[in-house]
C-alpha cells in the first residue's frame, strides 16, 4: 500500500538477541522510549533496529498477542523472550519492559498532585497525546505493507482491516464482539485460501 524509505527485512537477514542482558536492555530501551504506548517503538526496535523479526512476523506476533487477554505489548515481550531463551527469557523481557518505567510512573504519580492544575503541564500532555496518536497511526500505515504478502490476498485483507476499523473506531462496538464475530470468519477465509 505504501512504499517507505525503510528497507524490508527478509527472514534470511534476521538477527537474534545475543544474551539475556541483551534481551533485558533492548526491551528496557524500547519501553523507556514508549511515550503514549510502546507499540510504535516496538516496531522500530524489533523490526528496524535489532532486526529480530520481519514485518510479517511482527504482525503475526501482534495478532496473537491481541487475541490473547492481557496487555498486548507485555504478551509480545513474553512471546519473544520465550522464543529465544525459554521461560527465563520471557521473564527477563517482561522485567526489562516493566521495572524502570514502573518506578518512573509511580514517582510521577507522587509528584503529579502538585502540578496537576498547571497550564504548561496540561498543554504538554495534550501535545504528547496528539503525537502518540500519530505514532500509532504511522505504525499501522507501515505494517499495512504486510497485507500484500498475505496468503489471504490483498483485497480480502483490506476488507477485513476496514471492517474492523469501522466496527471499533466508528461504531464503538465492544472489542470482544468484533474479534469474536469477525475473527472466525477471517480465519475460515484464510483456512480456505491456504488449501
Amino acid at each position: 500500500m505504501n512504499d517507505t524509505a525503510v528497507p524490508v527485512e527478509t527472514a534470511e537477514t534476521l538477527a537474534a538477541p545475543t544474551s539475556l542482558s541483551d534481551l533485558f536492555f533492548t526491551f528496557n530501551r524500547m519501553s523507556l522510549q514508549g511515550f503514549g504506548g510502546v507499540l510504535a517503538v516496538a516496531q522500530r526496535e524489533l523490526v528496524e533496529r535489532t532486526r529480530w523479526m520481519t514485518r510479517e512476523q511482527f504482525v503475526e506476533t501482534l495478532a496473537v498477542s491481541q487475541v490473547l487477554p492481557g496487555p498486548n505489548i507485555v504478551n509480545m515481550a513474553l512471546m519473544i523472550g520465550d522464543r529465544h531463551f525459554g521461560l527465563r527469557g520471557a521473564f527477563v523481557a517482561l522485567a526489562g519492559m516493566l521495572l524502570v518505567p514502573l518506578v518512573i510512573v509511580l514517582a510521577l504519580t507522587a509528584l503529579y498532585a502538585q502540578f496537576a492544575t498547571h497550564a504548561m503541564v496540561s498543554g504538554a500532555l495534550r501535545g504528547m497525546g496528539a503525537v502518540a496518536a500519530g505514532l500509532v497511526i504511522s505504525t499501522a500505515v507501515k505494517l499495512s505493507t504486510t497485507l500484500k504478502k498475505s496468503a489471504m490476498g490483498l483485497p480480502l485483507g483490506i476488507a477485513f482491516a476496514a471492517v474492523t476499523f469501522i466496527a471499533v473506531a466508528v461504531l464503538r462496538w465492544p472489542l470482544v464482539w468484533v474479534l469474536g464475530g469477525l475473527g472466525p470468519i477471517a480465519v475460515a477465509c484464510a483456512f480456505w485460501r491456504l488449501r
Binding site: Q66, I73, A140, A186
Partner: protein, 182 residues
C-alpha cells in the same frame, strides 16, 4: 494523591487483587479495554478513589514512558499505596502471562499446521484495523483543533518517511503543547 483510603484492610486488598485477576482474562485487545470495568469497581462500587483521580491515573501513565498497562499500577497506588500497586499489577499480569506462555508454546509447536497458519494469517488484517482504530480513538481529543490535528498528521508523515526515533516526535509534541500550538 494518596487519598481517601490509603489504609485498606487485608480483605479489601484481596478483593482488589481478585478483581484484577478477573479483569486480566477479560483484557482482550489490551488493558485499557477494561478501564470502564475498573472504574465501576474502584470508583462507583467501593469509592476507593474519586472519578478525577481515576482519569488522572490514566493520563499520567500515558504521559510517562512504558506500556499503557502501567495505569493499572497508578490506580492501585492511588487506592492503597505500594501494596495497592502490587495487588493490581500482579492481578492484571498473572493470568494473562500464564495463558500467553502456554498458548504461544502450543502454537509454536504447531506453527506449520494449516490451522495455526490460518489463524495468524486471518487475524493479521484485524490487527491492522485495530491498530488504526486505536490511533483514531487516541486522536479524538485533537479533532477540531487545527494545531493538534497538524501535529497528528506531521507525526504520521515523519514516522513513515524517516527513521527518526519516536521519542523526538514526543518531545516536539510536548513543546508544541507548552507554547500553546497544540
Amino acid at each position: 494523591m494518596t487519598g481517601l483510603a490509603s489504609a485498606l484492610s487485608a480483605t479489601d486488598l484481596l478483593a482488589l487483587f481478585a478483581q484484577f485477576l478477573v479483569l486480566s482474562l477479560l483484557a482482550v485487545g489490551g488493558a485499557i479495554a477494561t478501564a470502564p470495568e475498573m472504574h465501576r469497581f474502584v470508583v462507583n462500587e467501593h469509592h476507593w478513589i474519586s472519578d478525577a483521580q481515576f482519569t488522572a491515573s490514566v493520563a499520567i501513565a500515558q504521559a510517562a514512558p512504558g506500556p499503557n498497562v502501567l495505569f493499572v499500577a497508578v490506580i492501585g497506588w492511588n487506592v492503597a499505596g505500594p501494596m495497592g500497586a502490587l495487588a493490581t499489577m500482579t492481578g492484571i499480569l498473572l493470568p494473562s502471562t500464564a495463558l500467553s506462555l502456554w498458548a504461544t508454546r502450543w502454537g509454536r509447536a504447531r506453527r506449520e499446521t494449516r490451522g495455526v497458519r490460518a489463524f495468524t494469517t486471518g487475524m493479521a488484517p484485524l490487527t491492522l484495523g485495530l491498530l488504526l482504530a486505536t490511533g483514531w480513538v487516541l486522536a479524538g481529543p485533537a479533532a477540531g483543533h487545527v494545531g493538534s490535528m497538524l501535529l497528528v498528521f506531521a507525526t504520521v508523515v515523519v514516522m513513515v518517511r524517516t527513521k527518526l526515533s519516536p521519542m523526538w516526535a514526543v518531545a516536539v509534541g510536548a513543546v508544541a503543547g507548552v507554547v500553546g500550538w497544540a
